[in-house]
């Protein structure tokens, strides 16, 4: 059931289509134009209780065109990239641009900022995996988890493997293309006791299949994470330190990035408007972006505007050193783009790291949070209130699981109150960080 994917041929095809769209837009009277095109293909299998549950083959493609008529803008896109469809998309984008209002900030990024250095960042590692092999790996993963005493049932293990090509081109003559791959294996298990059922999961994810954890490790870890939740109680209500597990700490970095993103700033929809240069974190904390890191999850030499990406320092010794801007948001703010159209790529923290034990000891009495629920982060005010589950910590030691409580505070106070970062760095995503110890938050439980 494998399907062939000729990345080189697909890349050539997308480049041709992008050029065709640019040429058509020019002929139809557009003053400037930009085109994004992509093709992705993958296989996903899931097993449950030792049996195959689903086998899915996916193949997605799309082309998106933005045209400018003077300072008016129109966009259109389609999942059909045939010649007739490209023509329809360009025509529709132009028709829209005839109706939208003048926007002095609209337009392509400046031509001299276009990426010229386009190295291979080693992010394309196809996995020649048959469906049968994919099923075997998922079964091995689930089986390792199910074997653990106490695991009652399984919610399944899934393996997905995909690769794709994306192309961005604009009427400055810039054309960038990049091939990429992503593979992941996850497992979710269920355990139960008289207090009810609990489930949890774990996963491994990488650009290169060689970097995935062994299936058995993922299954065992999912079992471990599920079993440790049994017997959860509600914690006491009060103000106390909160330790965020690495996966959740990366969410805090995400909230920070959302608040210093140009789009939020020019809309005044951020609690960090007009704060450049001010101390937001303790002096020992810095946050950097490494978009050209070889083999990393979000590496790319060019951003969504075609601008050359660069190493950025967003937080330097605790101070807000830079906003995160695209060409458009930079113009709106009267600043220069930071090469971040499409977001941040590979965020890395520079700070003294402490072991989990050290952080727990520093915390004394509080909660270690391993799961957050809901969307209670207000980017405008920084107010933070989310549902949580995790562990009660007393005298620097984990005592018992806790659930059905909330943690609340304000991001600004939480960032200021950051009092330690763990050495348990999670490297699976594009944000690499260890646990974060926040000095004090309000815990609402029983």
């Amino acid at each position: 059931m494998t399907q062939a994917f000729d990345a080189a041929a697909q890349q050539a095809l997308l480049e041709t289509r992008a050029q065709m769209a640019l040429e058509l837009a020019r002929r139809l009277g557009a003053d400037a134009c930009e085109v994004g095109a992509s093709v992705d293909q993958g296989v996903g299998v899931s097993v449950r209780e030792g049996e195959v549950e689903t086998v899915e083959l996916s193949r997605d493609q799309g082309i998106a065109v933005t045209v400018y008529l003077g300072s008016r803008k129109g966009s259109a896109s389609s999942t059909d990239a045939g010649e007739a469809s490209i023509r329809a998309v360009v025509e529709k984008a132009i028709a829209i641009a005839r109706h939208t209002g003048e926007d002095p900030a609209a337009g392509l990024a400046d031509a001299e900022l276009m990426a010229t250095e386009l190295p291979d960042l080693d992010v394309h590692h196809p996995w020649p995996l048959s469906t049968e092999e994919a099923i075997e790996l998922a079964l091995a993963c689930e089986s390792a988890g199910r074997q653990r005493p106490g695991i009652r049932s399984s919610d399944g293990a899934s393996l997905s493997s995909g690769e794709g090509v994306r192309v961005y081109a604009n009427s400055h003559g810039f054309l960038g293309s990049q091939r990429g791959s992503r593979h992941s294996l996850s497992c979710m298990l269920i355990a139960g006791d008289e207090g009810g059922m609990q489930r949890d999961y774990d996963y491994t994810s990488a650009r290169n299949p060689r970097d995935l954890l062994a299936p058995e490790k993922v299954g065992e870890s999912a079992a471990e994470r599920t079993l440790r939740r049994l017997g959860a109680r509600r914690p006491a209500t009060g103000r106390m330190p909160v330790l965020f597990d690495p996966t959740l700490a990366s969410g805090l970095v995400g909230s920070l990035m959302g608040a210093i993103a140009g789009g939020a700033l020019y809309r005044q929809a951020s609690f960090l408007c007009d704060r450049l240069g001010e101390p937001l974190f303790p002096e020992w904390f810095s946050l950097q972006e490494r978009p050209m890191e070889v083999g990393a999850m979000a590496s790319s030499p060019f951003d969504g505007d075609g601008v050359q990406t660069r190493d950025n320092v967003f937080i330097e010794n605790g101070r807000l050193a830079s906003y995160m801007l695209s060409a458009y948001s930079a113009r709106r703010l009267g600043m220069q783009t930071t090469g971040n159209a499409g977001g941040a790529r590979n965020l890395r923290i520079e700070a003294p790291l402490a072991s989990r034990e050290e952080l727990l000891a520093r915390m004394g009495r509080g909660v270690l949070v391993t799961e957050l629920m809901g969307q209670g982060v207000n980017a405008v005010t920084g107010d933070y209130s989310r549902g949580a589950a995790g562990f009660w910590v007393e005298n620097g030691e984990i005592r018992h699981p806790v659930e059905e409580f909330t943690i609340a505070g304000n991001l600004e106070a939480m960032f200021k109150g950051l009092s330690g970062i763990g050495s348990d760095t999670d490297t699976r995503g594009s944000i690499h960080t260890g646990s974060w110890l926040i000095g004090e938050m309000t815990v609402a439980g029983g």
Partner: protein, 484 residues
């Protein structure tokens, strides 16, 4: 009815099949590929959608976009196994290739025949119109500018206004090996206003919006630009005055309408067939048992006219219906698609939904509603010594296995001695579904449906949904404020 359904199928076939040189008769051949050895059910799902969005910022409509999506999803089922493949092309070759791929999930067993087609007639729950053509581009822009003008005029503290108008025109056709042939044309429109108000250095957001399955012109005729602009400003001004929310366990009164998202999270997801078949729901195996307080009746109703979550037929071609999930506190029904219904020995309930042809259908909610009770809403508030009155919410989430749910208030008030006193900052509420439903102590007679803004996410797939409820009192829920 039969005649109009026939023509609906012809209309869908003209839109979906004809461009690729296919006829309805060719679908039997296509299904044959998906109904390989050992496959006991297969279906083809054809879809085309046109999406349009207009966005106003700084008083100007600076951005608008248009998207065309379409293709066919082919699914083969064998017992609990599902094989799935899809293609952007709707051609005989694509059907053969995706069909063979999907049916490869098993390779042995008997080969079933495709049942002769039977047109499934669902009663029309909305007009089969293209909602995008209801207004001209100029009229769409004028509507957005009106919202901007009204919001800015409403209060001097309003510093930013953004408004959006979106519409989707979707045509679907389903052909299944059990004989099903069904089609649907689904309009969906939405208007949204969001404002930022600034006073004394404090900044707060307010937002309002709504829509449904009808032409865009109805948004204008109903005056949504003015209504949602005023509502968004009102909410922002309330939030400018908000004090820190309390933390701990408190009685909570939910306003009617959109706060029904609590039902969606606390009980809705837990009653979807797939989770119960797999035993992973906190409600699994509790059919016929008490899962909520007396007086609590919850339905999932796809049949409401023109509502955001309504469906004339679901994405497997089963007519939309009204399913009673909880009756007077007793669990009476699950929401089912064909796969889970068959495996559980139950009947499908018209709840099979998928984000698109490129996604697998699953049992999903449509419009989930708690029916009205007897209590006067004023009496409900009066009964609270110290608690929270929650009027509007952002998003929610549930862990269906432990039953824990959360949702975040975007407008809430402190209630003291039976009176609303001060607005409080958005707080997250957390509880356990079955437990919280047991703590419903008063149910208002003022059932309201939401304005039409809900999007439900499950396994990465988003679908439009509706919720509704009367004023409701829960004796105790954990409120996640900062004032302990």
């Amino acid at each position: 009815m039969t005649a109009s359904r026939r023509s609906l199928i012809d209309e869908a076939a003209d839109c979906l099949l004809t461009p690729g040189g296919l006829t309805l008769d060719d679908l039997d051949l296509g299904l044959g590929h998906a109904l390989g050895p050992g496959i006991d059910y297969a279906d083809l799902y054809f879809q085309r959608s046109w999406h349009e969005g207009w966005v106003l910022e700084d008083g100007e409509v600076k951005e608008a976009s248009y998207n065309i999506d379409g293709g066919v999803g082919v699914r083969s089922l064998a017992g609990e196994k599902t094989g799935f493949a899809y293609s952007n092309q709707i051609t005989a070759d694509a059907l053969a290739e995706t069909g063979r791929t999907a049916s490869g999930i098993v390779r042995s067993g008997s080969r079933l025949a495709v049942a002769p087609r039977v047109v499934v007639q669902g009663d029309a729950r909305y007009g089969g119109v293209d909602p995008l053509t209801g207004l001209s581009a100029e009229e769409k822009i004028a509507l957005l500018k009106e919202a901007d003008r009204v919001a800015r005029a409403a209060d001097p503290s309003v510093s930013q206004v953004s408004a959006s108008l979106t519409g989707v025109h979707e045509v679907v056709l389903v052909r299944a090996s059990d004989g099903t042939l069904a089609a649907d044309i689904r309009p969906l429109v939405r208007f949204n206003v969001s404002v930022i108000a600034v006073r004394n250095g404090r900044r707060e957001r307010g937002s309002a919006g709504g829509g449904g399955r009808y032409p865009m012109s109805r948004l204008r005729d109903e005056g949504v630009a003015e209504r949602f602009a005023k509502e968004a400003v009102r909410q922002a001004l309330v939030n400018l005055e908000a004090i820190d929310a309390p933390a701990g366990q408190l009685p909570v009164v939910l306003a009617p309408g959109w706060p029904g998202i609590l039902l969606h999270e606390a009980v809705g997801h837990g009653l979807e067939g797939d989770f119960n078949r797999k035993g992973s729901s906190a409600f699994a195996g509790r059919m016929g048992q008490r899962v909520a307080a007396k007086g609590v009746t919850v339905v999932d109703d796809a049949t409401l006219a023109d509502r955001r979550g309504s469906m004339s037929v679901d994405d497997e071609g089963t007519p939309g219906q009204c399913t009673t999930l909880i009756e007077d506190g007793i669990l009476t029904g699950y929401m089912q698609d064909k796969l889970n219904a068959r495996l559980m020995g139950m009947a499908p309930t018209g709840n099979a939904r998928r984000e698109s042809f490129a996604h697998l259908p699953m049992p999903r909610m449509t419009n989930t509603i708690m029916l009205a009770g007897q209590d006067d809403p004023a009496d409900i508030l009066k009964s609270v010594k110290r608690g929270l009155y929650a009027v509007s919410f952002g998003g929610g989430q549930v862990d269906i296995t432990s039953g824990k749910f959360v949702f975040s208030a975007s407008e809430a008030y402190l209630v003291e001695d039976g009176r609303i006193t001060a607005p409080v900052k958005g707080a997250t509420l957390i509880g356990n579904g079955p437990e919280a439903m047991g703590r419903v102590s008063m149910i208002g007679h003022d059932l309201e449906l939401d304005a039409g803004i809900g999007v439900c996410g499950k396994e990465g797939q988003g679908v439009p949904v509706g919720v509704g409820q009367p004023t409701l009192k829960l004796d105790e829920l954990t409120v996640g404020g900062t004032q302990s």
